[in-house]
């Protein structure tokens, strides 16, 4: 029989673990109860439902090699995200997806990869980082630039610790507003791009962060002569359906849900409303 399911019907999933990452973010692992394996591409997202409240698009943060559960790092921003923060292990939610395209993993093979994550931008990048670490030999240099406003907002501290231990990862962490205990770097993340020695043609920059970050990151990356095709950014837009119908996430001629959420700069530069 042909699939008669509505586009909008989520699968029921269960929260199997909850971890408070920061004051605003929690990390949830959810499973579709063994009904199906959950395969996805790093950079893809799901539509997460808390029934009675609504749906919100959330990037997948976990490793694509873990097919049993999906990891979602969720910031408490509004109705759905607040509602899920109240849920505990065992609670049921709905998910639709994976949606969107994710990063062009195959194309990235053999390349140097510069991850630039601002704030919550680490959430989708973490999935890609996990992928790269799993297949470490397939990639060249790995540089992770990660910045948040304050030290308290740093996500996935244990991952950061792990990555720091790995020798062939260059990890740069910075905060804008250090507190008295902070001993690391300070300043906006884009400040650390100029000092990097990059091989432009062989480097891909994967950039995810708040809208303001993109403008500055771009300037610096162009300064470094990274080709426009190699700068990949993930965009956030209001999104209702996630499948290219509702019109909310449209940026000029493209849909973030269908054509993104990751875009190359050489596409974005023609979209007047993108950045």
């Amino acid at each position: 029989m042909i699939n008669n399911n509505s586009l909008y019907l989520p699968e029921i999933a269960r929260i199997v673990s909850v971890r408070q990452l920061t004051e605003m973010e929690k990390y949830f692992e959810i499973s579709t109860e063994g009904k199906k394996e959950f395969s996805f591409n790093p950079g893809q997202f799901v539509q997460l439902s808390v029934f009675g409240i609504g749906e919100a698009p959330i990037s997948i943060s976990s490793s694509p090699f873990n097919k049993d559960t999906v990891g979602l790092c969720i910031r408490r921003m509004g109705d759905v995200t607040t509602a899920i923060h109240k849920l505990e292990i065992g609670a049921s939610v709905g998910i639709r997806g994976p949606l969107g395209n994710g990063f062009p993993v195959r194309e990235l093979k053999g390349k140097d990869i510069l991850f630039i994550a601002g704030g919550l931008g680490l959430a989708p990048l973490r999935s890609m980082i996990s992928y790269v670490l799993e297949k470490r030999k397939d990639f060249g240099r790995i540089i992770i630039l990660y910045g948040t406003k304050s030290p308290g907002e740093l996500l996935f501290r244990d991952d950061l610790e792990t990555w720091r231990q790995i020798e062939d990862i260059e990890l740069i962490i910075t905060v804008n507003r250090p507190d008295k205990d902070w001993t690391g770097r300070t300043g906006v993340i884009t400040r650390f791009i100029p000092s990097l020695e990059l091989e432009p043609q062989n480097t891909y920059a994967l950039v995810v962060g708040p809208p303001v970050m993109y403008k500055y990151a771009l300037l610096e990356l162009q300064e470094k002569l990274i080709p426009e095709n190699n700068i990949i950014m993930s965009l956030e837009r209001r999104m209702k359906c996630g499948v290219g119908k509702c019109g909310h996430c449209q940026i000029n001629g493209v849909y973030v849900c269908l054509d993104g959420p990751e875009f190359r700069y050489h596409t974005l530069k023609f979209l007047s409303e993108a950045i």
């Binding site: 399911n5 009675g52 709905g94 209702k240």
Partner: protein
């Protein structure tokens, strides 16, 4: 196949369709204003009516519809809802047939939206051809929507004492055979129709200053056109142009719990890209914060973005938005302003 149905038999055809379908026909609401509504008996404003207040899209993609039903206690249960019934929309103008064809495209391209397609599959469309401009706002000819070749089951053309019925689908043929009294049309009828169609060309004075195929490129380069500033000052951001449009299909999705606070539904409702918070994200950014930007987006959807994606104009020239706009922002005027401003550059 094409047949002739005597005018006095059209009521019979109409009534007979009601036996197995819900039949929607055109009703006059007040002089000069028409709506599609469930028809009690066949009344005949077919030849007079101007585009209905809302397009027939409302029967395929209703103002508000339930997508899911859920209950959260004792354990979470979610059920999809895809509602449809056998229905006939009787008396659809070519522009609206084109409108439905465009919706067919958007609701099947990339992913199939069953809430739409199931309704569509159960809908019979009886068109009525236009022989002259229905009102001053129409410019269907400019956007290539005066002629319609498919998208209907039957297309009626008024030949004076009878209707020439062009059959577009097997389903159309079946209902004609089953529900209508008719005789077969002959060559001379075909000729006559051809002539009539020829004669109506060029009657539309309301038209674009350039060929429709030039618009995507012109609009692409018109982001900073002064016309958007002028419209920014005039547009009220009221959203009427979106609501009345046969090709607007943006929607909002929301949950609604019952008063028991455990069961409820997820609904979708028409949304409008001219409204202020259409593109606001959770962090508060608004990617189209001015009315001018939002209107530019709307025009670009019609003549650039969607036109490029689907390779056909996403405006069918019905003129509803120009008529409805309280401050009379007119599509033809706006398009022509963009065209002229490009020319002078």
């Amino acid at each position: 196949m094409r047949v002739l149905i005597d005018k006095k038999d059209i009521g019979f055809f109409f009534e007979s369709l009601k036996e197995e379908n819900t039949v929607y026909g055109v009703k006059q609401k007040e002089p000069g204003f028409y709506v599609f509504d469930e028809a009690e008996t066949f009344s005949d404003p077919l030849d007079k009516y101007t585009p209905t207040l809302l397009p027939p899209k409302k029967y395929l993609f209703p103002q508000k519809e339930t997508l899911l039903k859920f209950s959260t206690t004792p354990s979470l249960k979610v059920k999809q809802l895809i509602e449809f019934k056998k229905q006939v929309i009787f008396g659809v103008r070519p522009c609206d047939i084109h409108g439905i064809k465009l919706l067919d495209k958007v609701f099947t391209t990339d992913h199939e939206d069953k809430n739409y397609t199931q309704k569509r599959a159960n809908t019979i469309i009886i068109g009525i051809d236009c022989m002259k401009p229905c009102y001053k706002y129409a410019y269907c000819e400019s956007v290539g929507c005066l002629d319609v070749e498919d998208g209907f089951d039957v297309l009626l053309t008024d030949m004076g004492d009878c209707f020439y019925a062009l059959i577009g689908t097997a389903q159309g043929e079946a209902i004609i055979r089953k529900n209508a009294r008719f005789i077969n049309a002959n060559k001379s009828d075909d000729e006559k129709i051809k002539c009539m169609k020829e004669e109506r060309r060029g009657l539309f004075e309301n038209k674009f200053a350039t060929d429709i195929s030039n618009l995507p490129l012109l609009f692409k380069n018109a982001d900073n056109d002064p016309v958007w500033d002028e419209l920014n000052d005039r547009c009220l951001g009221c959203g009427r142009c979106n609501i009345v449009c046969p090709t607007c299909y943006c929607f909002d999705v929301f949950d609604c719990v019952d008063l028991n606070m455990s069961s409820g539904e997820r609904c979708r409702q028409w949304d409008a890209c001219t409204l202020k918070d259409f593109a606001v994200v959770a962090t508060g950014e608004n990617f189209r914060s001015t009315r001018g930007q939002r209107l530019r987006h709307r025009f670009n959807r019609k003549f650039n973005y969607l036109m490029t994606k689907h390779n056909t104009s996403f405006c069918v020239g019905c003129g509803r938005c120009s008529r409805s706009c309280p401050v009379k922002i007119d599509v033809v005027e706006t398009v022509n302003a963009v065209v002229n401003n490009r020319k002078t550059k």
